[in-house]
Amino acid sequence: MPSYAGMLALLLATLPYVSSQNEPRINASDQEILQPKSGQELPITLQCNLTNSHSTHRDTFWMKNGQEIANTRTERKHTEFKLSKPRTDDSGEYMCVYTFKSAPNANASIEVKAAPEIIGHKRSENKKEGENATLYCKSVGYPHPMWMWRKKVGRGSYIDIDNSTGRFFIINKDNFTELSIIGLDIGTDPGEYVCNASNIIGSKESMTILRVRSHLAPLWPFLGVLAEIIILVVIIVVYEKRKRPDEVPDDDEPVAPVKTNSTNNHKDKNVRQRNTN
């Protein structure tokens, strides 16, 4: 006679098989890695196939990064999502979702990875000393990158940002990073700041120039221009005063109306009688 223990063991052994019979099975294509820069933008197709379902299947749709993609709902068990010219911002986590009449949704996820690209940053930031400056960088790419801020010194060499004065604040979010500097110091703060985004596929960086103006900076060019103008005016006035006594009256100087006021003869006379320059 079989023991209760034996029957229990048998039951337990078959339990996974039974439960897996009830779980839907989805065949999903592998993860993709985008190489948009190399110029060969080969189209990519993500596929999902529902091979085994216990409950009646309702419909299927796709999601990207947790949000449903419009116009992807079908009632088929085999579904495809095509990226014809994939770019970096097409990367992310895609999910094909199957809904059932009386069972919870089932899904499979396919990761489309790409090296980060920096899409938003300021080329230059100009502030007065003592003010606050904010530098930022935005990126696309998946997985979300790790951010790092550095400062460029010399050619191609970087140093980490020195926060001994406690004026630097960095905020990192998924696709966004921000470097805030309060109380700008004209001696140490100006320079080229580089934000670096890197994920498992690759990395990218971009540069922002920070310029700090002193309070009195614009005064010097103003005074310089003023000096130039005064010098020029003095030269011109002196030249004129010195020329006047020597001036020969006849050449430039006109004569009261000659012959006619109709111009035909006017010029003739003058050209013949007087030497005009």
């Binding site: 230059s124 100009n126 900076a217 221009v225 109709s262």
Partner: protein, 481 residues
């Protein structure tokens, strides 16, 4: 040779009631350089300020149209201040007015750099700066007419070339100042830079007219002199209340046929004149061209313009064109209109480059001749009043043109209708000028031959009198014999 040359070079009569021979050289070239600076600043400065708009807009938290008012107010005041400028030039001469104008702009910019509201900018940069530039523009043009006659078109062409040269220089300079000093610091420095107008003004030495009467050589000259003085005094006698206004500014110009033709033609033309420049870069971007190439189009345009102006002056000075310079101007305006009409038909970026080259040429031609033709029509003596009256009337189409064109673009969502409209306006102006100037030349020739005939008749009458006298003498002698 000299006779033929001088005759053909003759501007039509009533152009030189100056009473003296302009030197046509010597210090005149220094004056041209001064005018070059003044005109350059006047036209280029309002346009180059747009670089600061974005930061000022953010600083004061206002909309783009509110900040764009600064430029519009400046341009409007510059044009509307024309008559005021003319009155002052008529009274005091060019030099003091330009120096005062330069000081006004300088002080205005320095004050604006400390401004705390947008209203301060409207007042300082817009109103005071605009008047200062008006006090630069009119006198600079007027004094060219006083120093040049034979070589006047060249002088005008060279002086007007200041506008594209200064625009090409001020734009990168403003960008540099903005990067290094922000808008306040830039305004301060620009205030200093604009004081260079005072330098230009100090170059504009007034011509001294020594009123020493010549020893009249023959009685003929005396008689003829008297005869010709009478038409002059007849002209200068005005009746009624117009006399009072005429002390300040010559309002009798509105009865001058040539001036009226010029005015109507120019008003038509200015509706379509500036808009194509303003919309060249946006049109290029609309067609999918990137920002840098679109900006490059404007550089090509400015470069061609820079050389077209003195070149046109040289061409206009030749003995074939100078007598009929009004036709040359009408041709330039019509050519402009043709360029605009053809622009939408040219495909792609290379088409736009071709358009930029031809348009630069056309724009330069019109600008170089714009004031030369006015001088040619009314004469250097009345020019300062004429240009003041002309600019205040042209103020309307100049300011309304670009917004109306923008409206056309917005309504049709396409730039080609705007280009067609501008082209048509300029063609209309050009054809009007052609036809009216044809008649004007004919009427002027008739008047000239009439005057000659009158002169001859009176001369003959004098001779007859003398002959009669001699006859009487002879006959009395004979009788006595």
């Amino acid at each position: 040779m000299q006779k033929r040359g001088t005759k053909a070079n003759m501007p039509p009569p009533a152009t030189t009631n100056l009473g003296y021979t302009p030197p046509d050289g010597g210090w005149g070239w220094a004056v041209v350089f001064g005018s070059f600076i003044s005109i350059g600043f006047s036209y280029a400065f309002p346009k180059s300020l747009t670089i600061y708009f974005k930061e000022i807009q953010e600083y004061f938290s206002i909309s783009y149209s509110q900040i764009a008012w600064v430029s519009s107010i400046m341009l409007a005041t510059m044009y509307a201040g024309g008559p005021v400028s003319s009155i002052l030039v008529n009274r005091y001469g060019s030099r003091p007015v330009v120096i005062v104008g330069g000081l006004m702009v300088g002080v205005a910019m320095v004050t604006a750099s400390f401004g705390t509201t947008i209203l301060h900018l409207y007042l300082c940069v817009g109103v005071i700066g605009g008047f200062g530039l008006a006090f630069n523009l009119q006198p600079a043009l007027t004094i060219i007419g006083k120093y040049f006659l034979v070589k006047r078109p060249i002088a005008n062409g060279l002086a007007m070339a200041g506008s594209p040269v200064f625009l090409s220089t001020l734009a990168p300079l403003n960008q540099f100042l903005f990067d290094h000093f922000g808008w306040r610091g830039s305004f301060l420095t620009l205030g200093g830079v604009m004081l260079n107008c005072c330098v230009a003004g100090s170059l504009m030495r007034p011509i001294e007219i020594k009123m020493k009467l010549p020893v009249s050589k023959t009685t003929d000259e005396n008689n003829a002199g008297e005869l010709d003085v009478t038409p002059q005094t007849a002209e200068s006698k005005q009746s009624g209340c117009a006399a009072k206004i005429n002390q300040f500014i010559d309002v009798s110009l509105f009865k001058h046929r040539g001036f009226l033709i010029y005015l109507v033609g120019n008003v038509l033309m200015f509706f379509g004149f500036f808009a194509p420049v303003v919309f060249l870069a946006p049109y290029a971007k609309h067609q999918g061209i990137d920002e840098y190439s679109a900006a490059f189009l404007l550089s090509i345009f400015a470069l061609v313009d820079m050389f077209a102006r003195p070149g046109t002056g040289l061409v206009a000075n030749t003995r074939w064109i100078r007598p009929k310079i009004q036709y040359f101007f009408s041709f330039a305006v019509t050519y402009n209109g043709l360029c605009h009409v053809m622009c939408p038909l040219l495909p792609g970026y290379s088409g736009l480059v071709v358009y930029a080259v031809f348009f630069g040429l056309a724009f330069g031609m019109v600008c170089a001749l714009l004031f030369e033709t006015l001088m040619d029509l009314v004469g250097a003596q009345r020019f300062s009043s004429a240009v003041g009256l002309a600019t205040i009337i042209e103020c309307g189409p100049v300011l309304l043109g670009p917004p109306i064109s923008g409206l056309l673009v917005d309504i049709f969502m396409d730039y080609k209708y705007m280009y067609f409209a501008c082209g048509v306006m300029m063609l209309a102006g050009g054809i009007f000028l052609f036809i009216m100037n044809y008649y004007n030349y004919r009427w002027l020739e008739k008047e000239q031959t009439q005057r000659k005939v009158e002169g001859l008749e009176i001369g003959l009458a004098n001779e007859e009198d003398k002959d009669n006298e001699e006859e009487i003498k002879l006959s009395t002698e004979e009788e006595e014999k």
